[in-house]
């Protein structure tokens, strides 16, 4: 897609992957951070991690297994929270531990069997060895995320404002909540190869947190968060190739640095010194 602009194929794929991952994750991040569901990020990433381990163990396509397992976990979050009358965060904690246990168990067992699996690409990602199909899939999920927000904008706003008040006003909040979980699962599973299970959390939370330092309404947050993520990620990819640095951790560090700067410069924290 960006070949006319970037001559080097590897760099071009890396930039494309980062751009699409930034768009999908940061848009979802605006909803996640407002709903205090930050833990959904690491639960989903570890679900994808566990799914990929299962795929490798069964000698299947690891990414397809990651997607299937993440979607399965996403489908469990809502009903478990409802049935067990637990806060979504507590449910996420239980599922996170389950996913981590499955992944570690299988990786250790495969090493014991002599299959010699390295989990580092799943944990830290590998943005320079992506297939074209994987980038197309990421582009599709970014588009799906944008369409989801545009279609359900009023429902998303109401849920972000207050779930109980949205429900009391007669909205079908459960439907929108379950679609949201499904898209998060899909995005996280597809981003696993790029930034890895441990760093995906940064893309889900940090751009939205940066945007919230300056934006006073949701619409501008939905524009600012992906824009920030996109610019920082593209710069990170360039810097990573230019100075031969690991790309995903570099972008994570840059995003965190930007967040620190945003907190310092935030207009929301300024106290007026005017007397009148």
């Amino acid at each position: 897609m960006l070949e006319p602009l970037i001559a080097n194929n590897v760099v071009c794929h890396a930039v494309e992957a980062m751009v699409f991952a930034s768009i999908a994750c940061s848009i979802l991040g605006v909803v996640i951070s407002r709903m205090n569901l930050a833990s959904i990020g690491f639960t989903m990433s570890h679900a994808a991690f566990a799914g990929a381990s299962i795929g490798m163990f069964l000698e299947m396509n690891a990414q397809m297994a990651a997607i299937a397992f993440s979607v399965g976990v996403a489908a469990l979050i809502g009903p478990i929270s409802d049935k067990a009358k637990m806060a979504a965060d507590a449910t996420l904690g239980v599922l996170f531990a389950l996913c981590m246990a499955v992944a570690i168990f299988l990786i250790s067992y495969m090493q014991y069997l002599g299959k010699g699996l390295s989990a580092s690409s799943l944990l830290f990602g590998d943005v320079i060895s992506l297939y074209r199909e994987e980038i197309y899939a990421l582009a599709a999920v970014s588009l799906l995320t944008i369409i989801f927000v545009l279609l359900f904008y009023k429902e998303i706003c109401a849920i972000m404002f207050n779930m109980k008040i949205a429900q009391a006003s007669g909205m079908r909040v459960q439907v929108v909540y379950y679609i949201l979980l499904f898209i998060i699962a899909l995005s996280v599973a597809l981003c696993l190869n790029i930034v890895g299970g441990l760093l995906i959390f940064v893309w889900l939370v940090t751009p939205a947190s940066i945007a919230s330092q300056f934006c006073f309404d949701v619409k501008s947050m939905f524009i600012a968060a992906p824009l920030v993520a996109l610019l920082v990620s593209a710069f990170g990819v360039w810097a990573g190739f230019e100075y031969t640095l690991p790309i995903a951790p570099l972008v994570a560090l840059l995003l965190t640095g930007t967040f620190g700067l945003a907190v310092m410069l935030s207009t929301k924290r300024k106290v007026t010194t005017r007397r009148h």
Binding site: A158, I165, A166, S169
Partner: protein, 246 residues
């Protein structure tokens, strides 16, 4: 549409939360007609808020018959909530909440609109009307989290008025309001009652009730201990005596 006589008909309902070994609401029967001003009183943990949330189907009714606005609450809670306004108790919006007053009031219309439908001119007008009714025009562009408790309370009342509800449920609506705001709100509620919309209020503050016949319901331990019509000035005394007797 099921029943047409009373707008709220509860017959022998029981409500229980999952995990509780006893129901919160027990064998409760209550009829509320159009244009009634209903006050629900009683001691803490009497089940007053649970009763409101049983009426709009937010809490599951386990036994009995419940019809609100012509819908069976147990089967069509969602349809009931589209027609019933509910001002919840104890809300808090942090200063970073990215919604202004106008947007929050507009959200009151979303349930009526349904999934995937955008607000139209009529919805914007209803929201503007609600803002004017509550007298919060000057707060319209302010972020809700930066408002005082009383102002947030007014916004939530406007949010429910924008919905143009057939029934309005209010849980402790006067708790954050000063004297003049209470009087102002009472005047709005009285107008709604005169227009035929029944008002159901859970409250511990009975001063300032409008000078009309009040349908008073006193609750204790999940049951109705008194269900009478009385003058507004008698409400406090009746609730106090009923609560002391128990």
């Amino acid at each position: 549409m099921l029943w047409e006589l009373s707008i709220i008909e509860l017959e022998g309902i029981y409500t229980a939360y999952e995990g509780d070994d006893k129901p919160i609401i027990k064998d409760l029967t209550l009829n509320i007609d159009r244009g009634e001003y209903v006050v629900i009183g009683g001691p803490n943990s009497a089940g007053k808020t649970t009763l409101l949330e049983s009426i709009n189907g937010l809490v599951k009714i386990t036994h009995g018959r419940a019809a609100v606005c012509g819908f069976d609450v147990r089967r069509s809670g969602h349809d009931v909530r589209k027609k019933v306004g509910y001002v919840v108790q104890n809300f808090y919006f942090d200063p970073f909440t990215p919604f202004n007053t106008q947007q929050v009031v507009m959200m009151g219309r979303y349930g009526r609109l349904g999934l995937l439908k955008r607000p139209i001119e009529e919805d914007y007008k209803a929201a503007e009307r609600a803002i004017r009714m509550v007298g919060i025009e000057d707060l319209a562009q302010k972020t809700i989290g930066t408002l005082s408790g009383g102002q947030q309370q007014k916004v939530m009342i406007a949010h429910n008025l924008a919905k143009e509800p057939e029934v309005l449920l209010l849980d402790e609506p006067f708790s954050n309001l000063d004297f003049s705001a209470r009087e102002f709100l009472q005047a709005i509620l009285l107008d709604l009652v005169k227009g035929g919309t029944p008002i159901v209020i859970v409250s511990h503050a009975f001063d300032g009730l409008p000078d009309i016949r009040i349908h008073l319901v006193v609750m204790n331990e999940g049951r109705i201990t008194k269900d009478i019509c009385c003058p507004a000035r008698a409400v406090e005394d009746i609730v106090r005596k009923s609560s002391l007797r128990q």
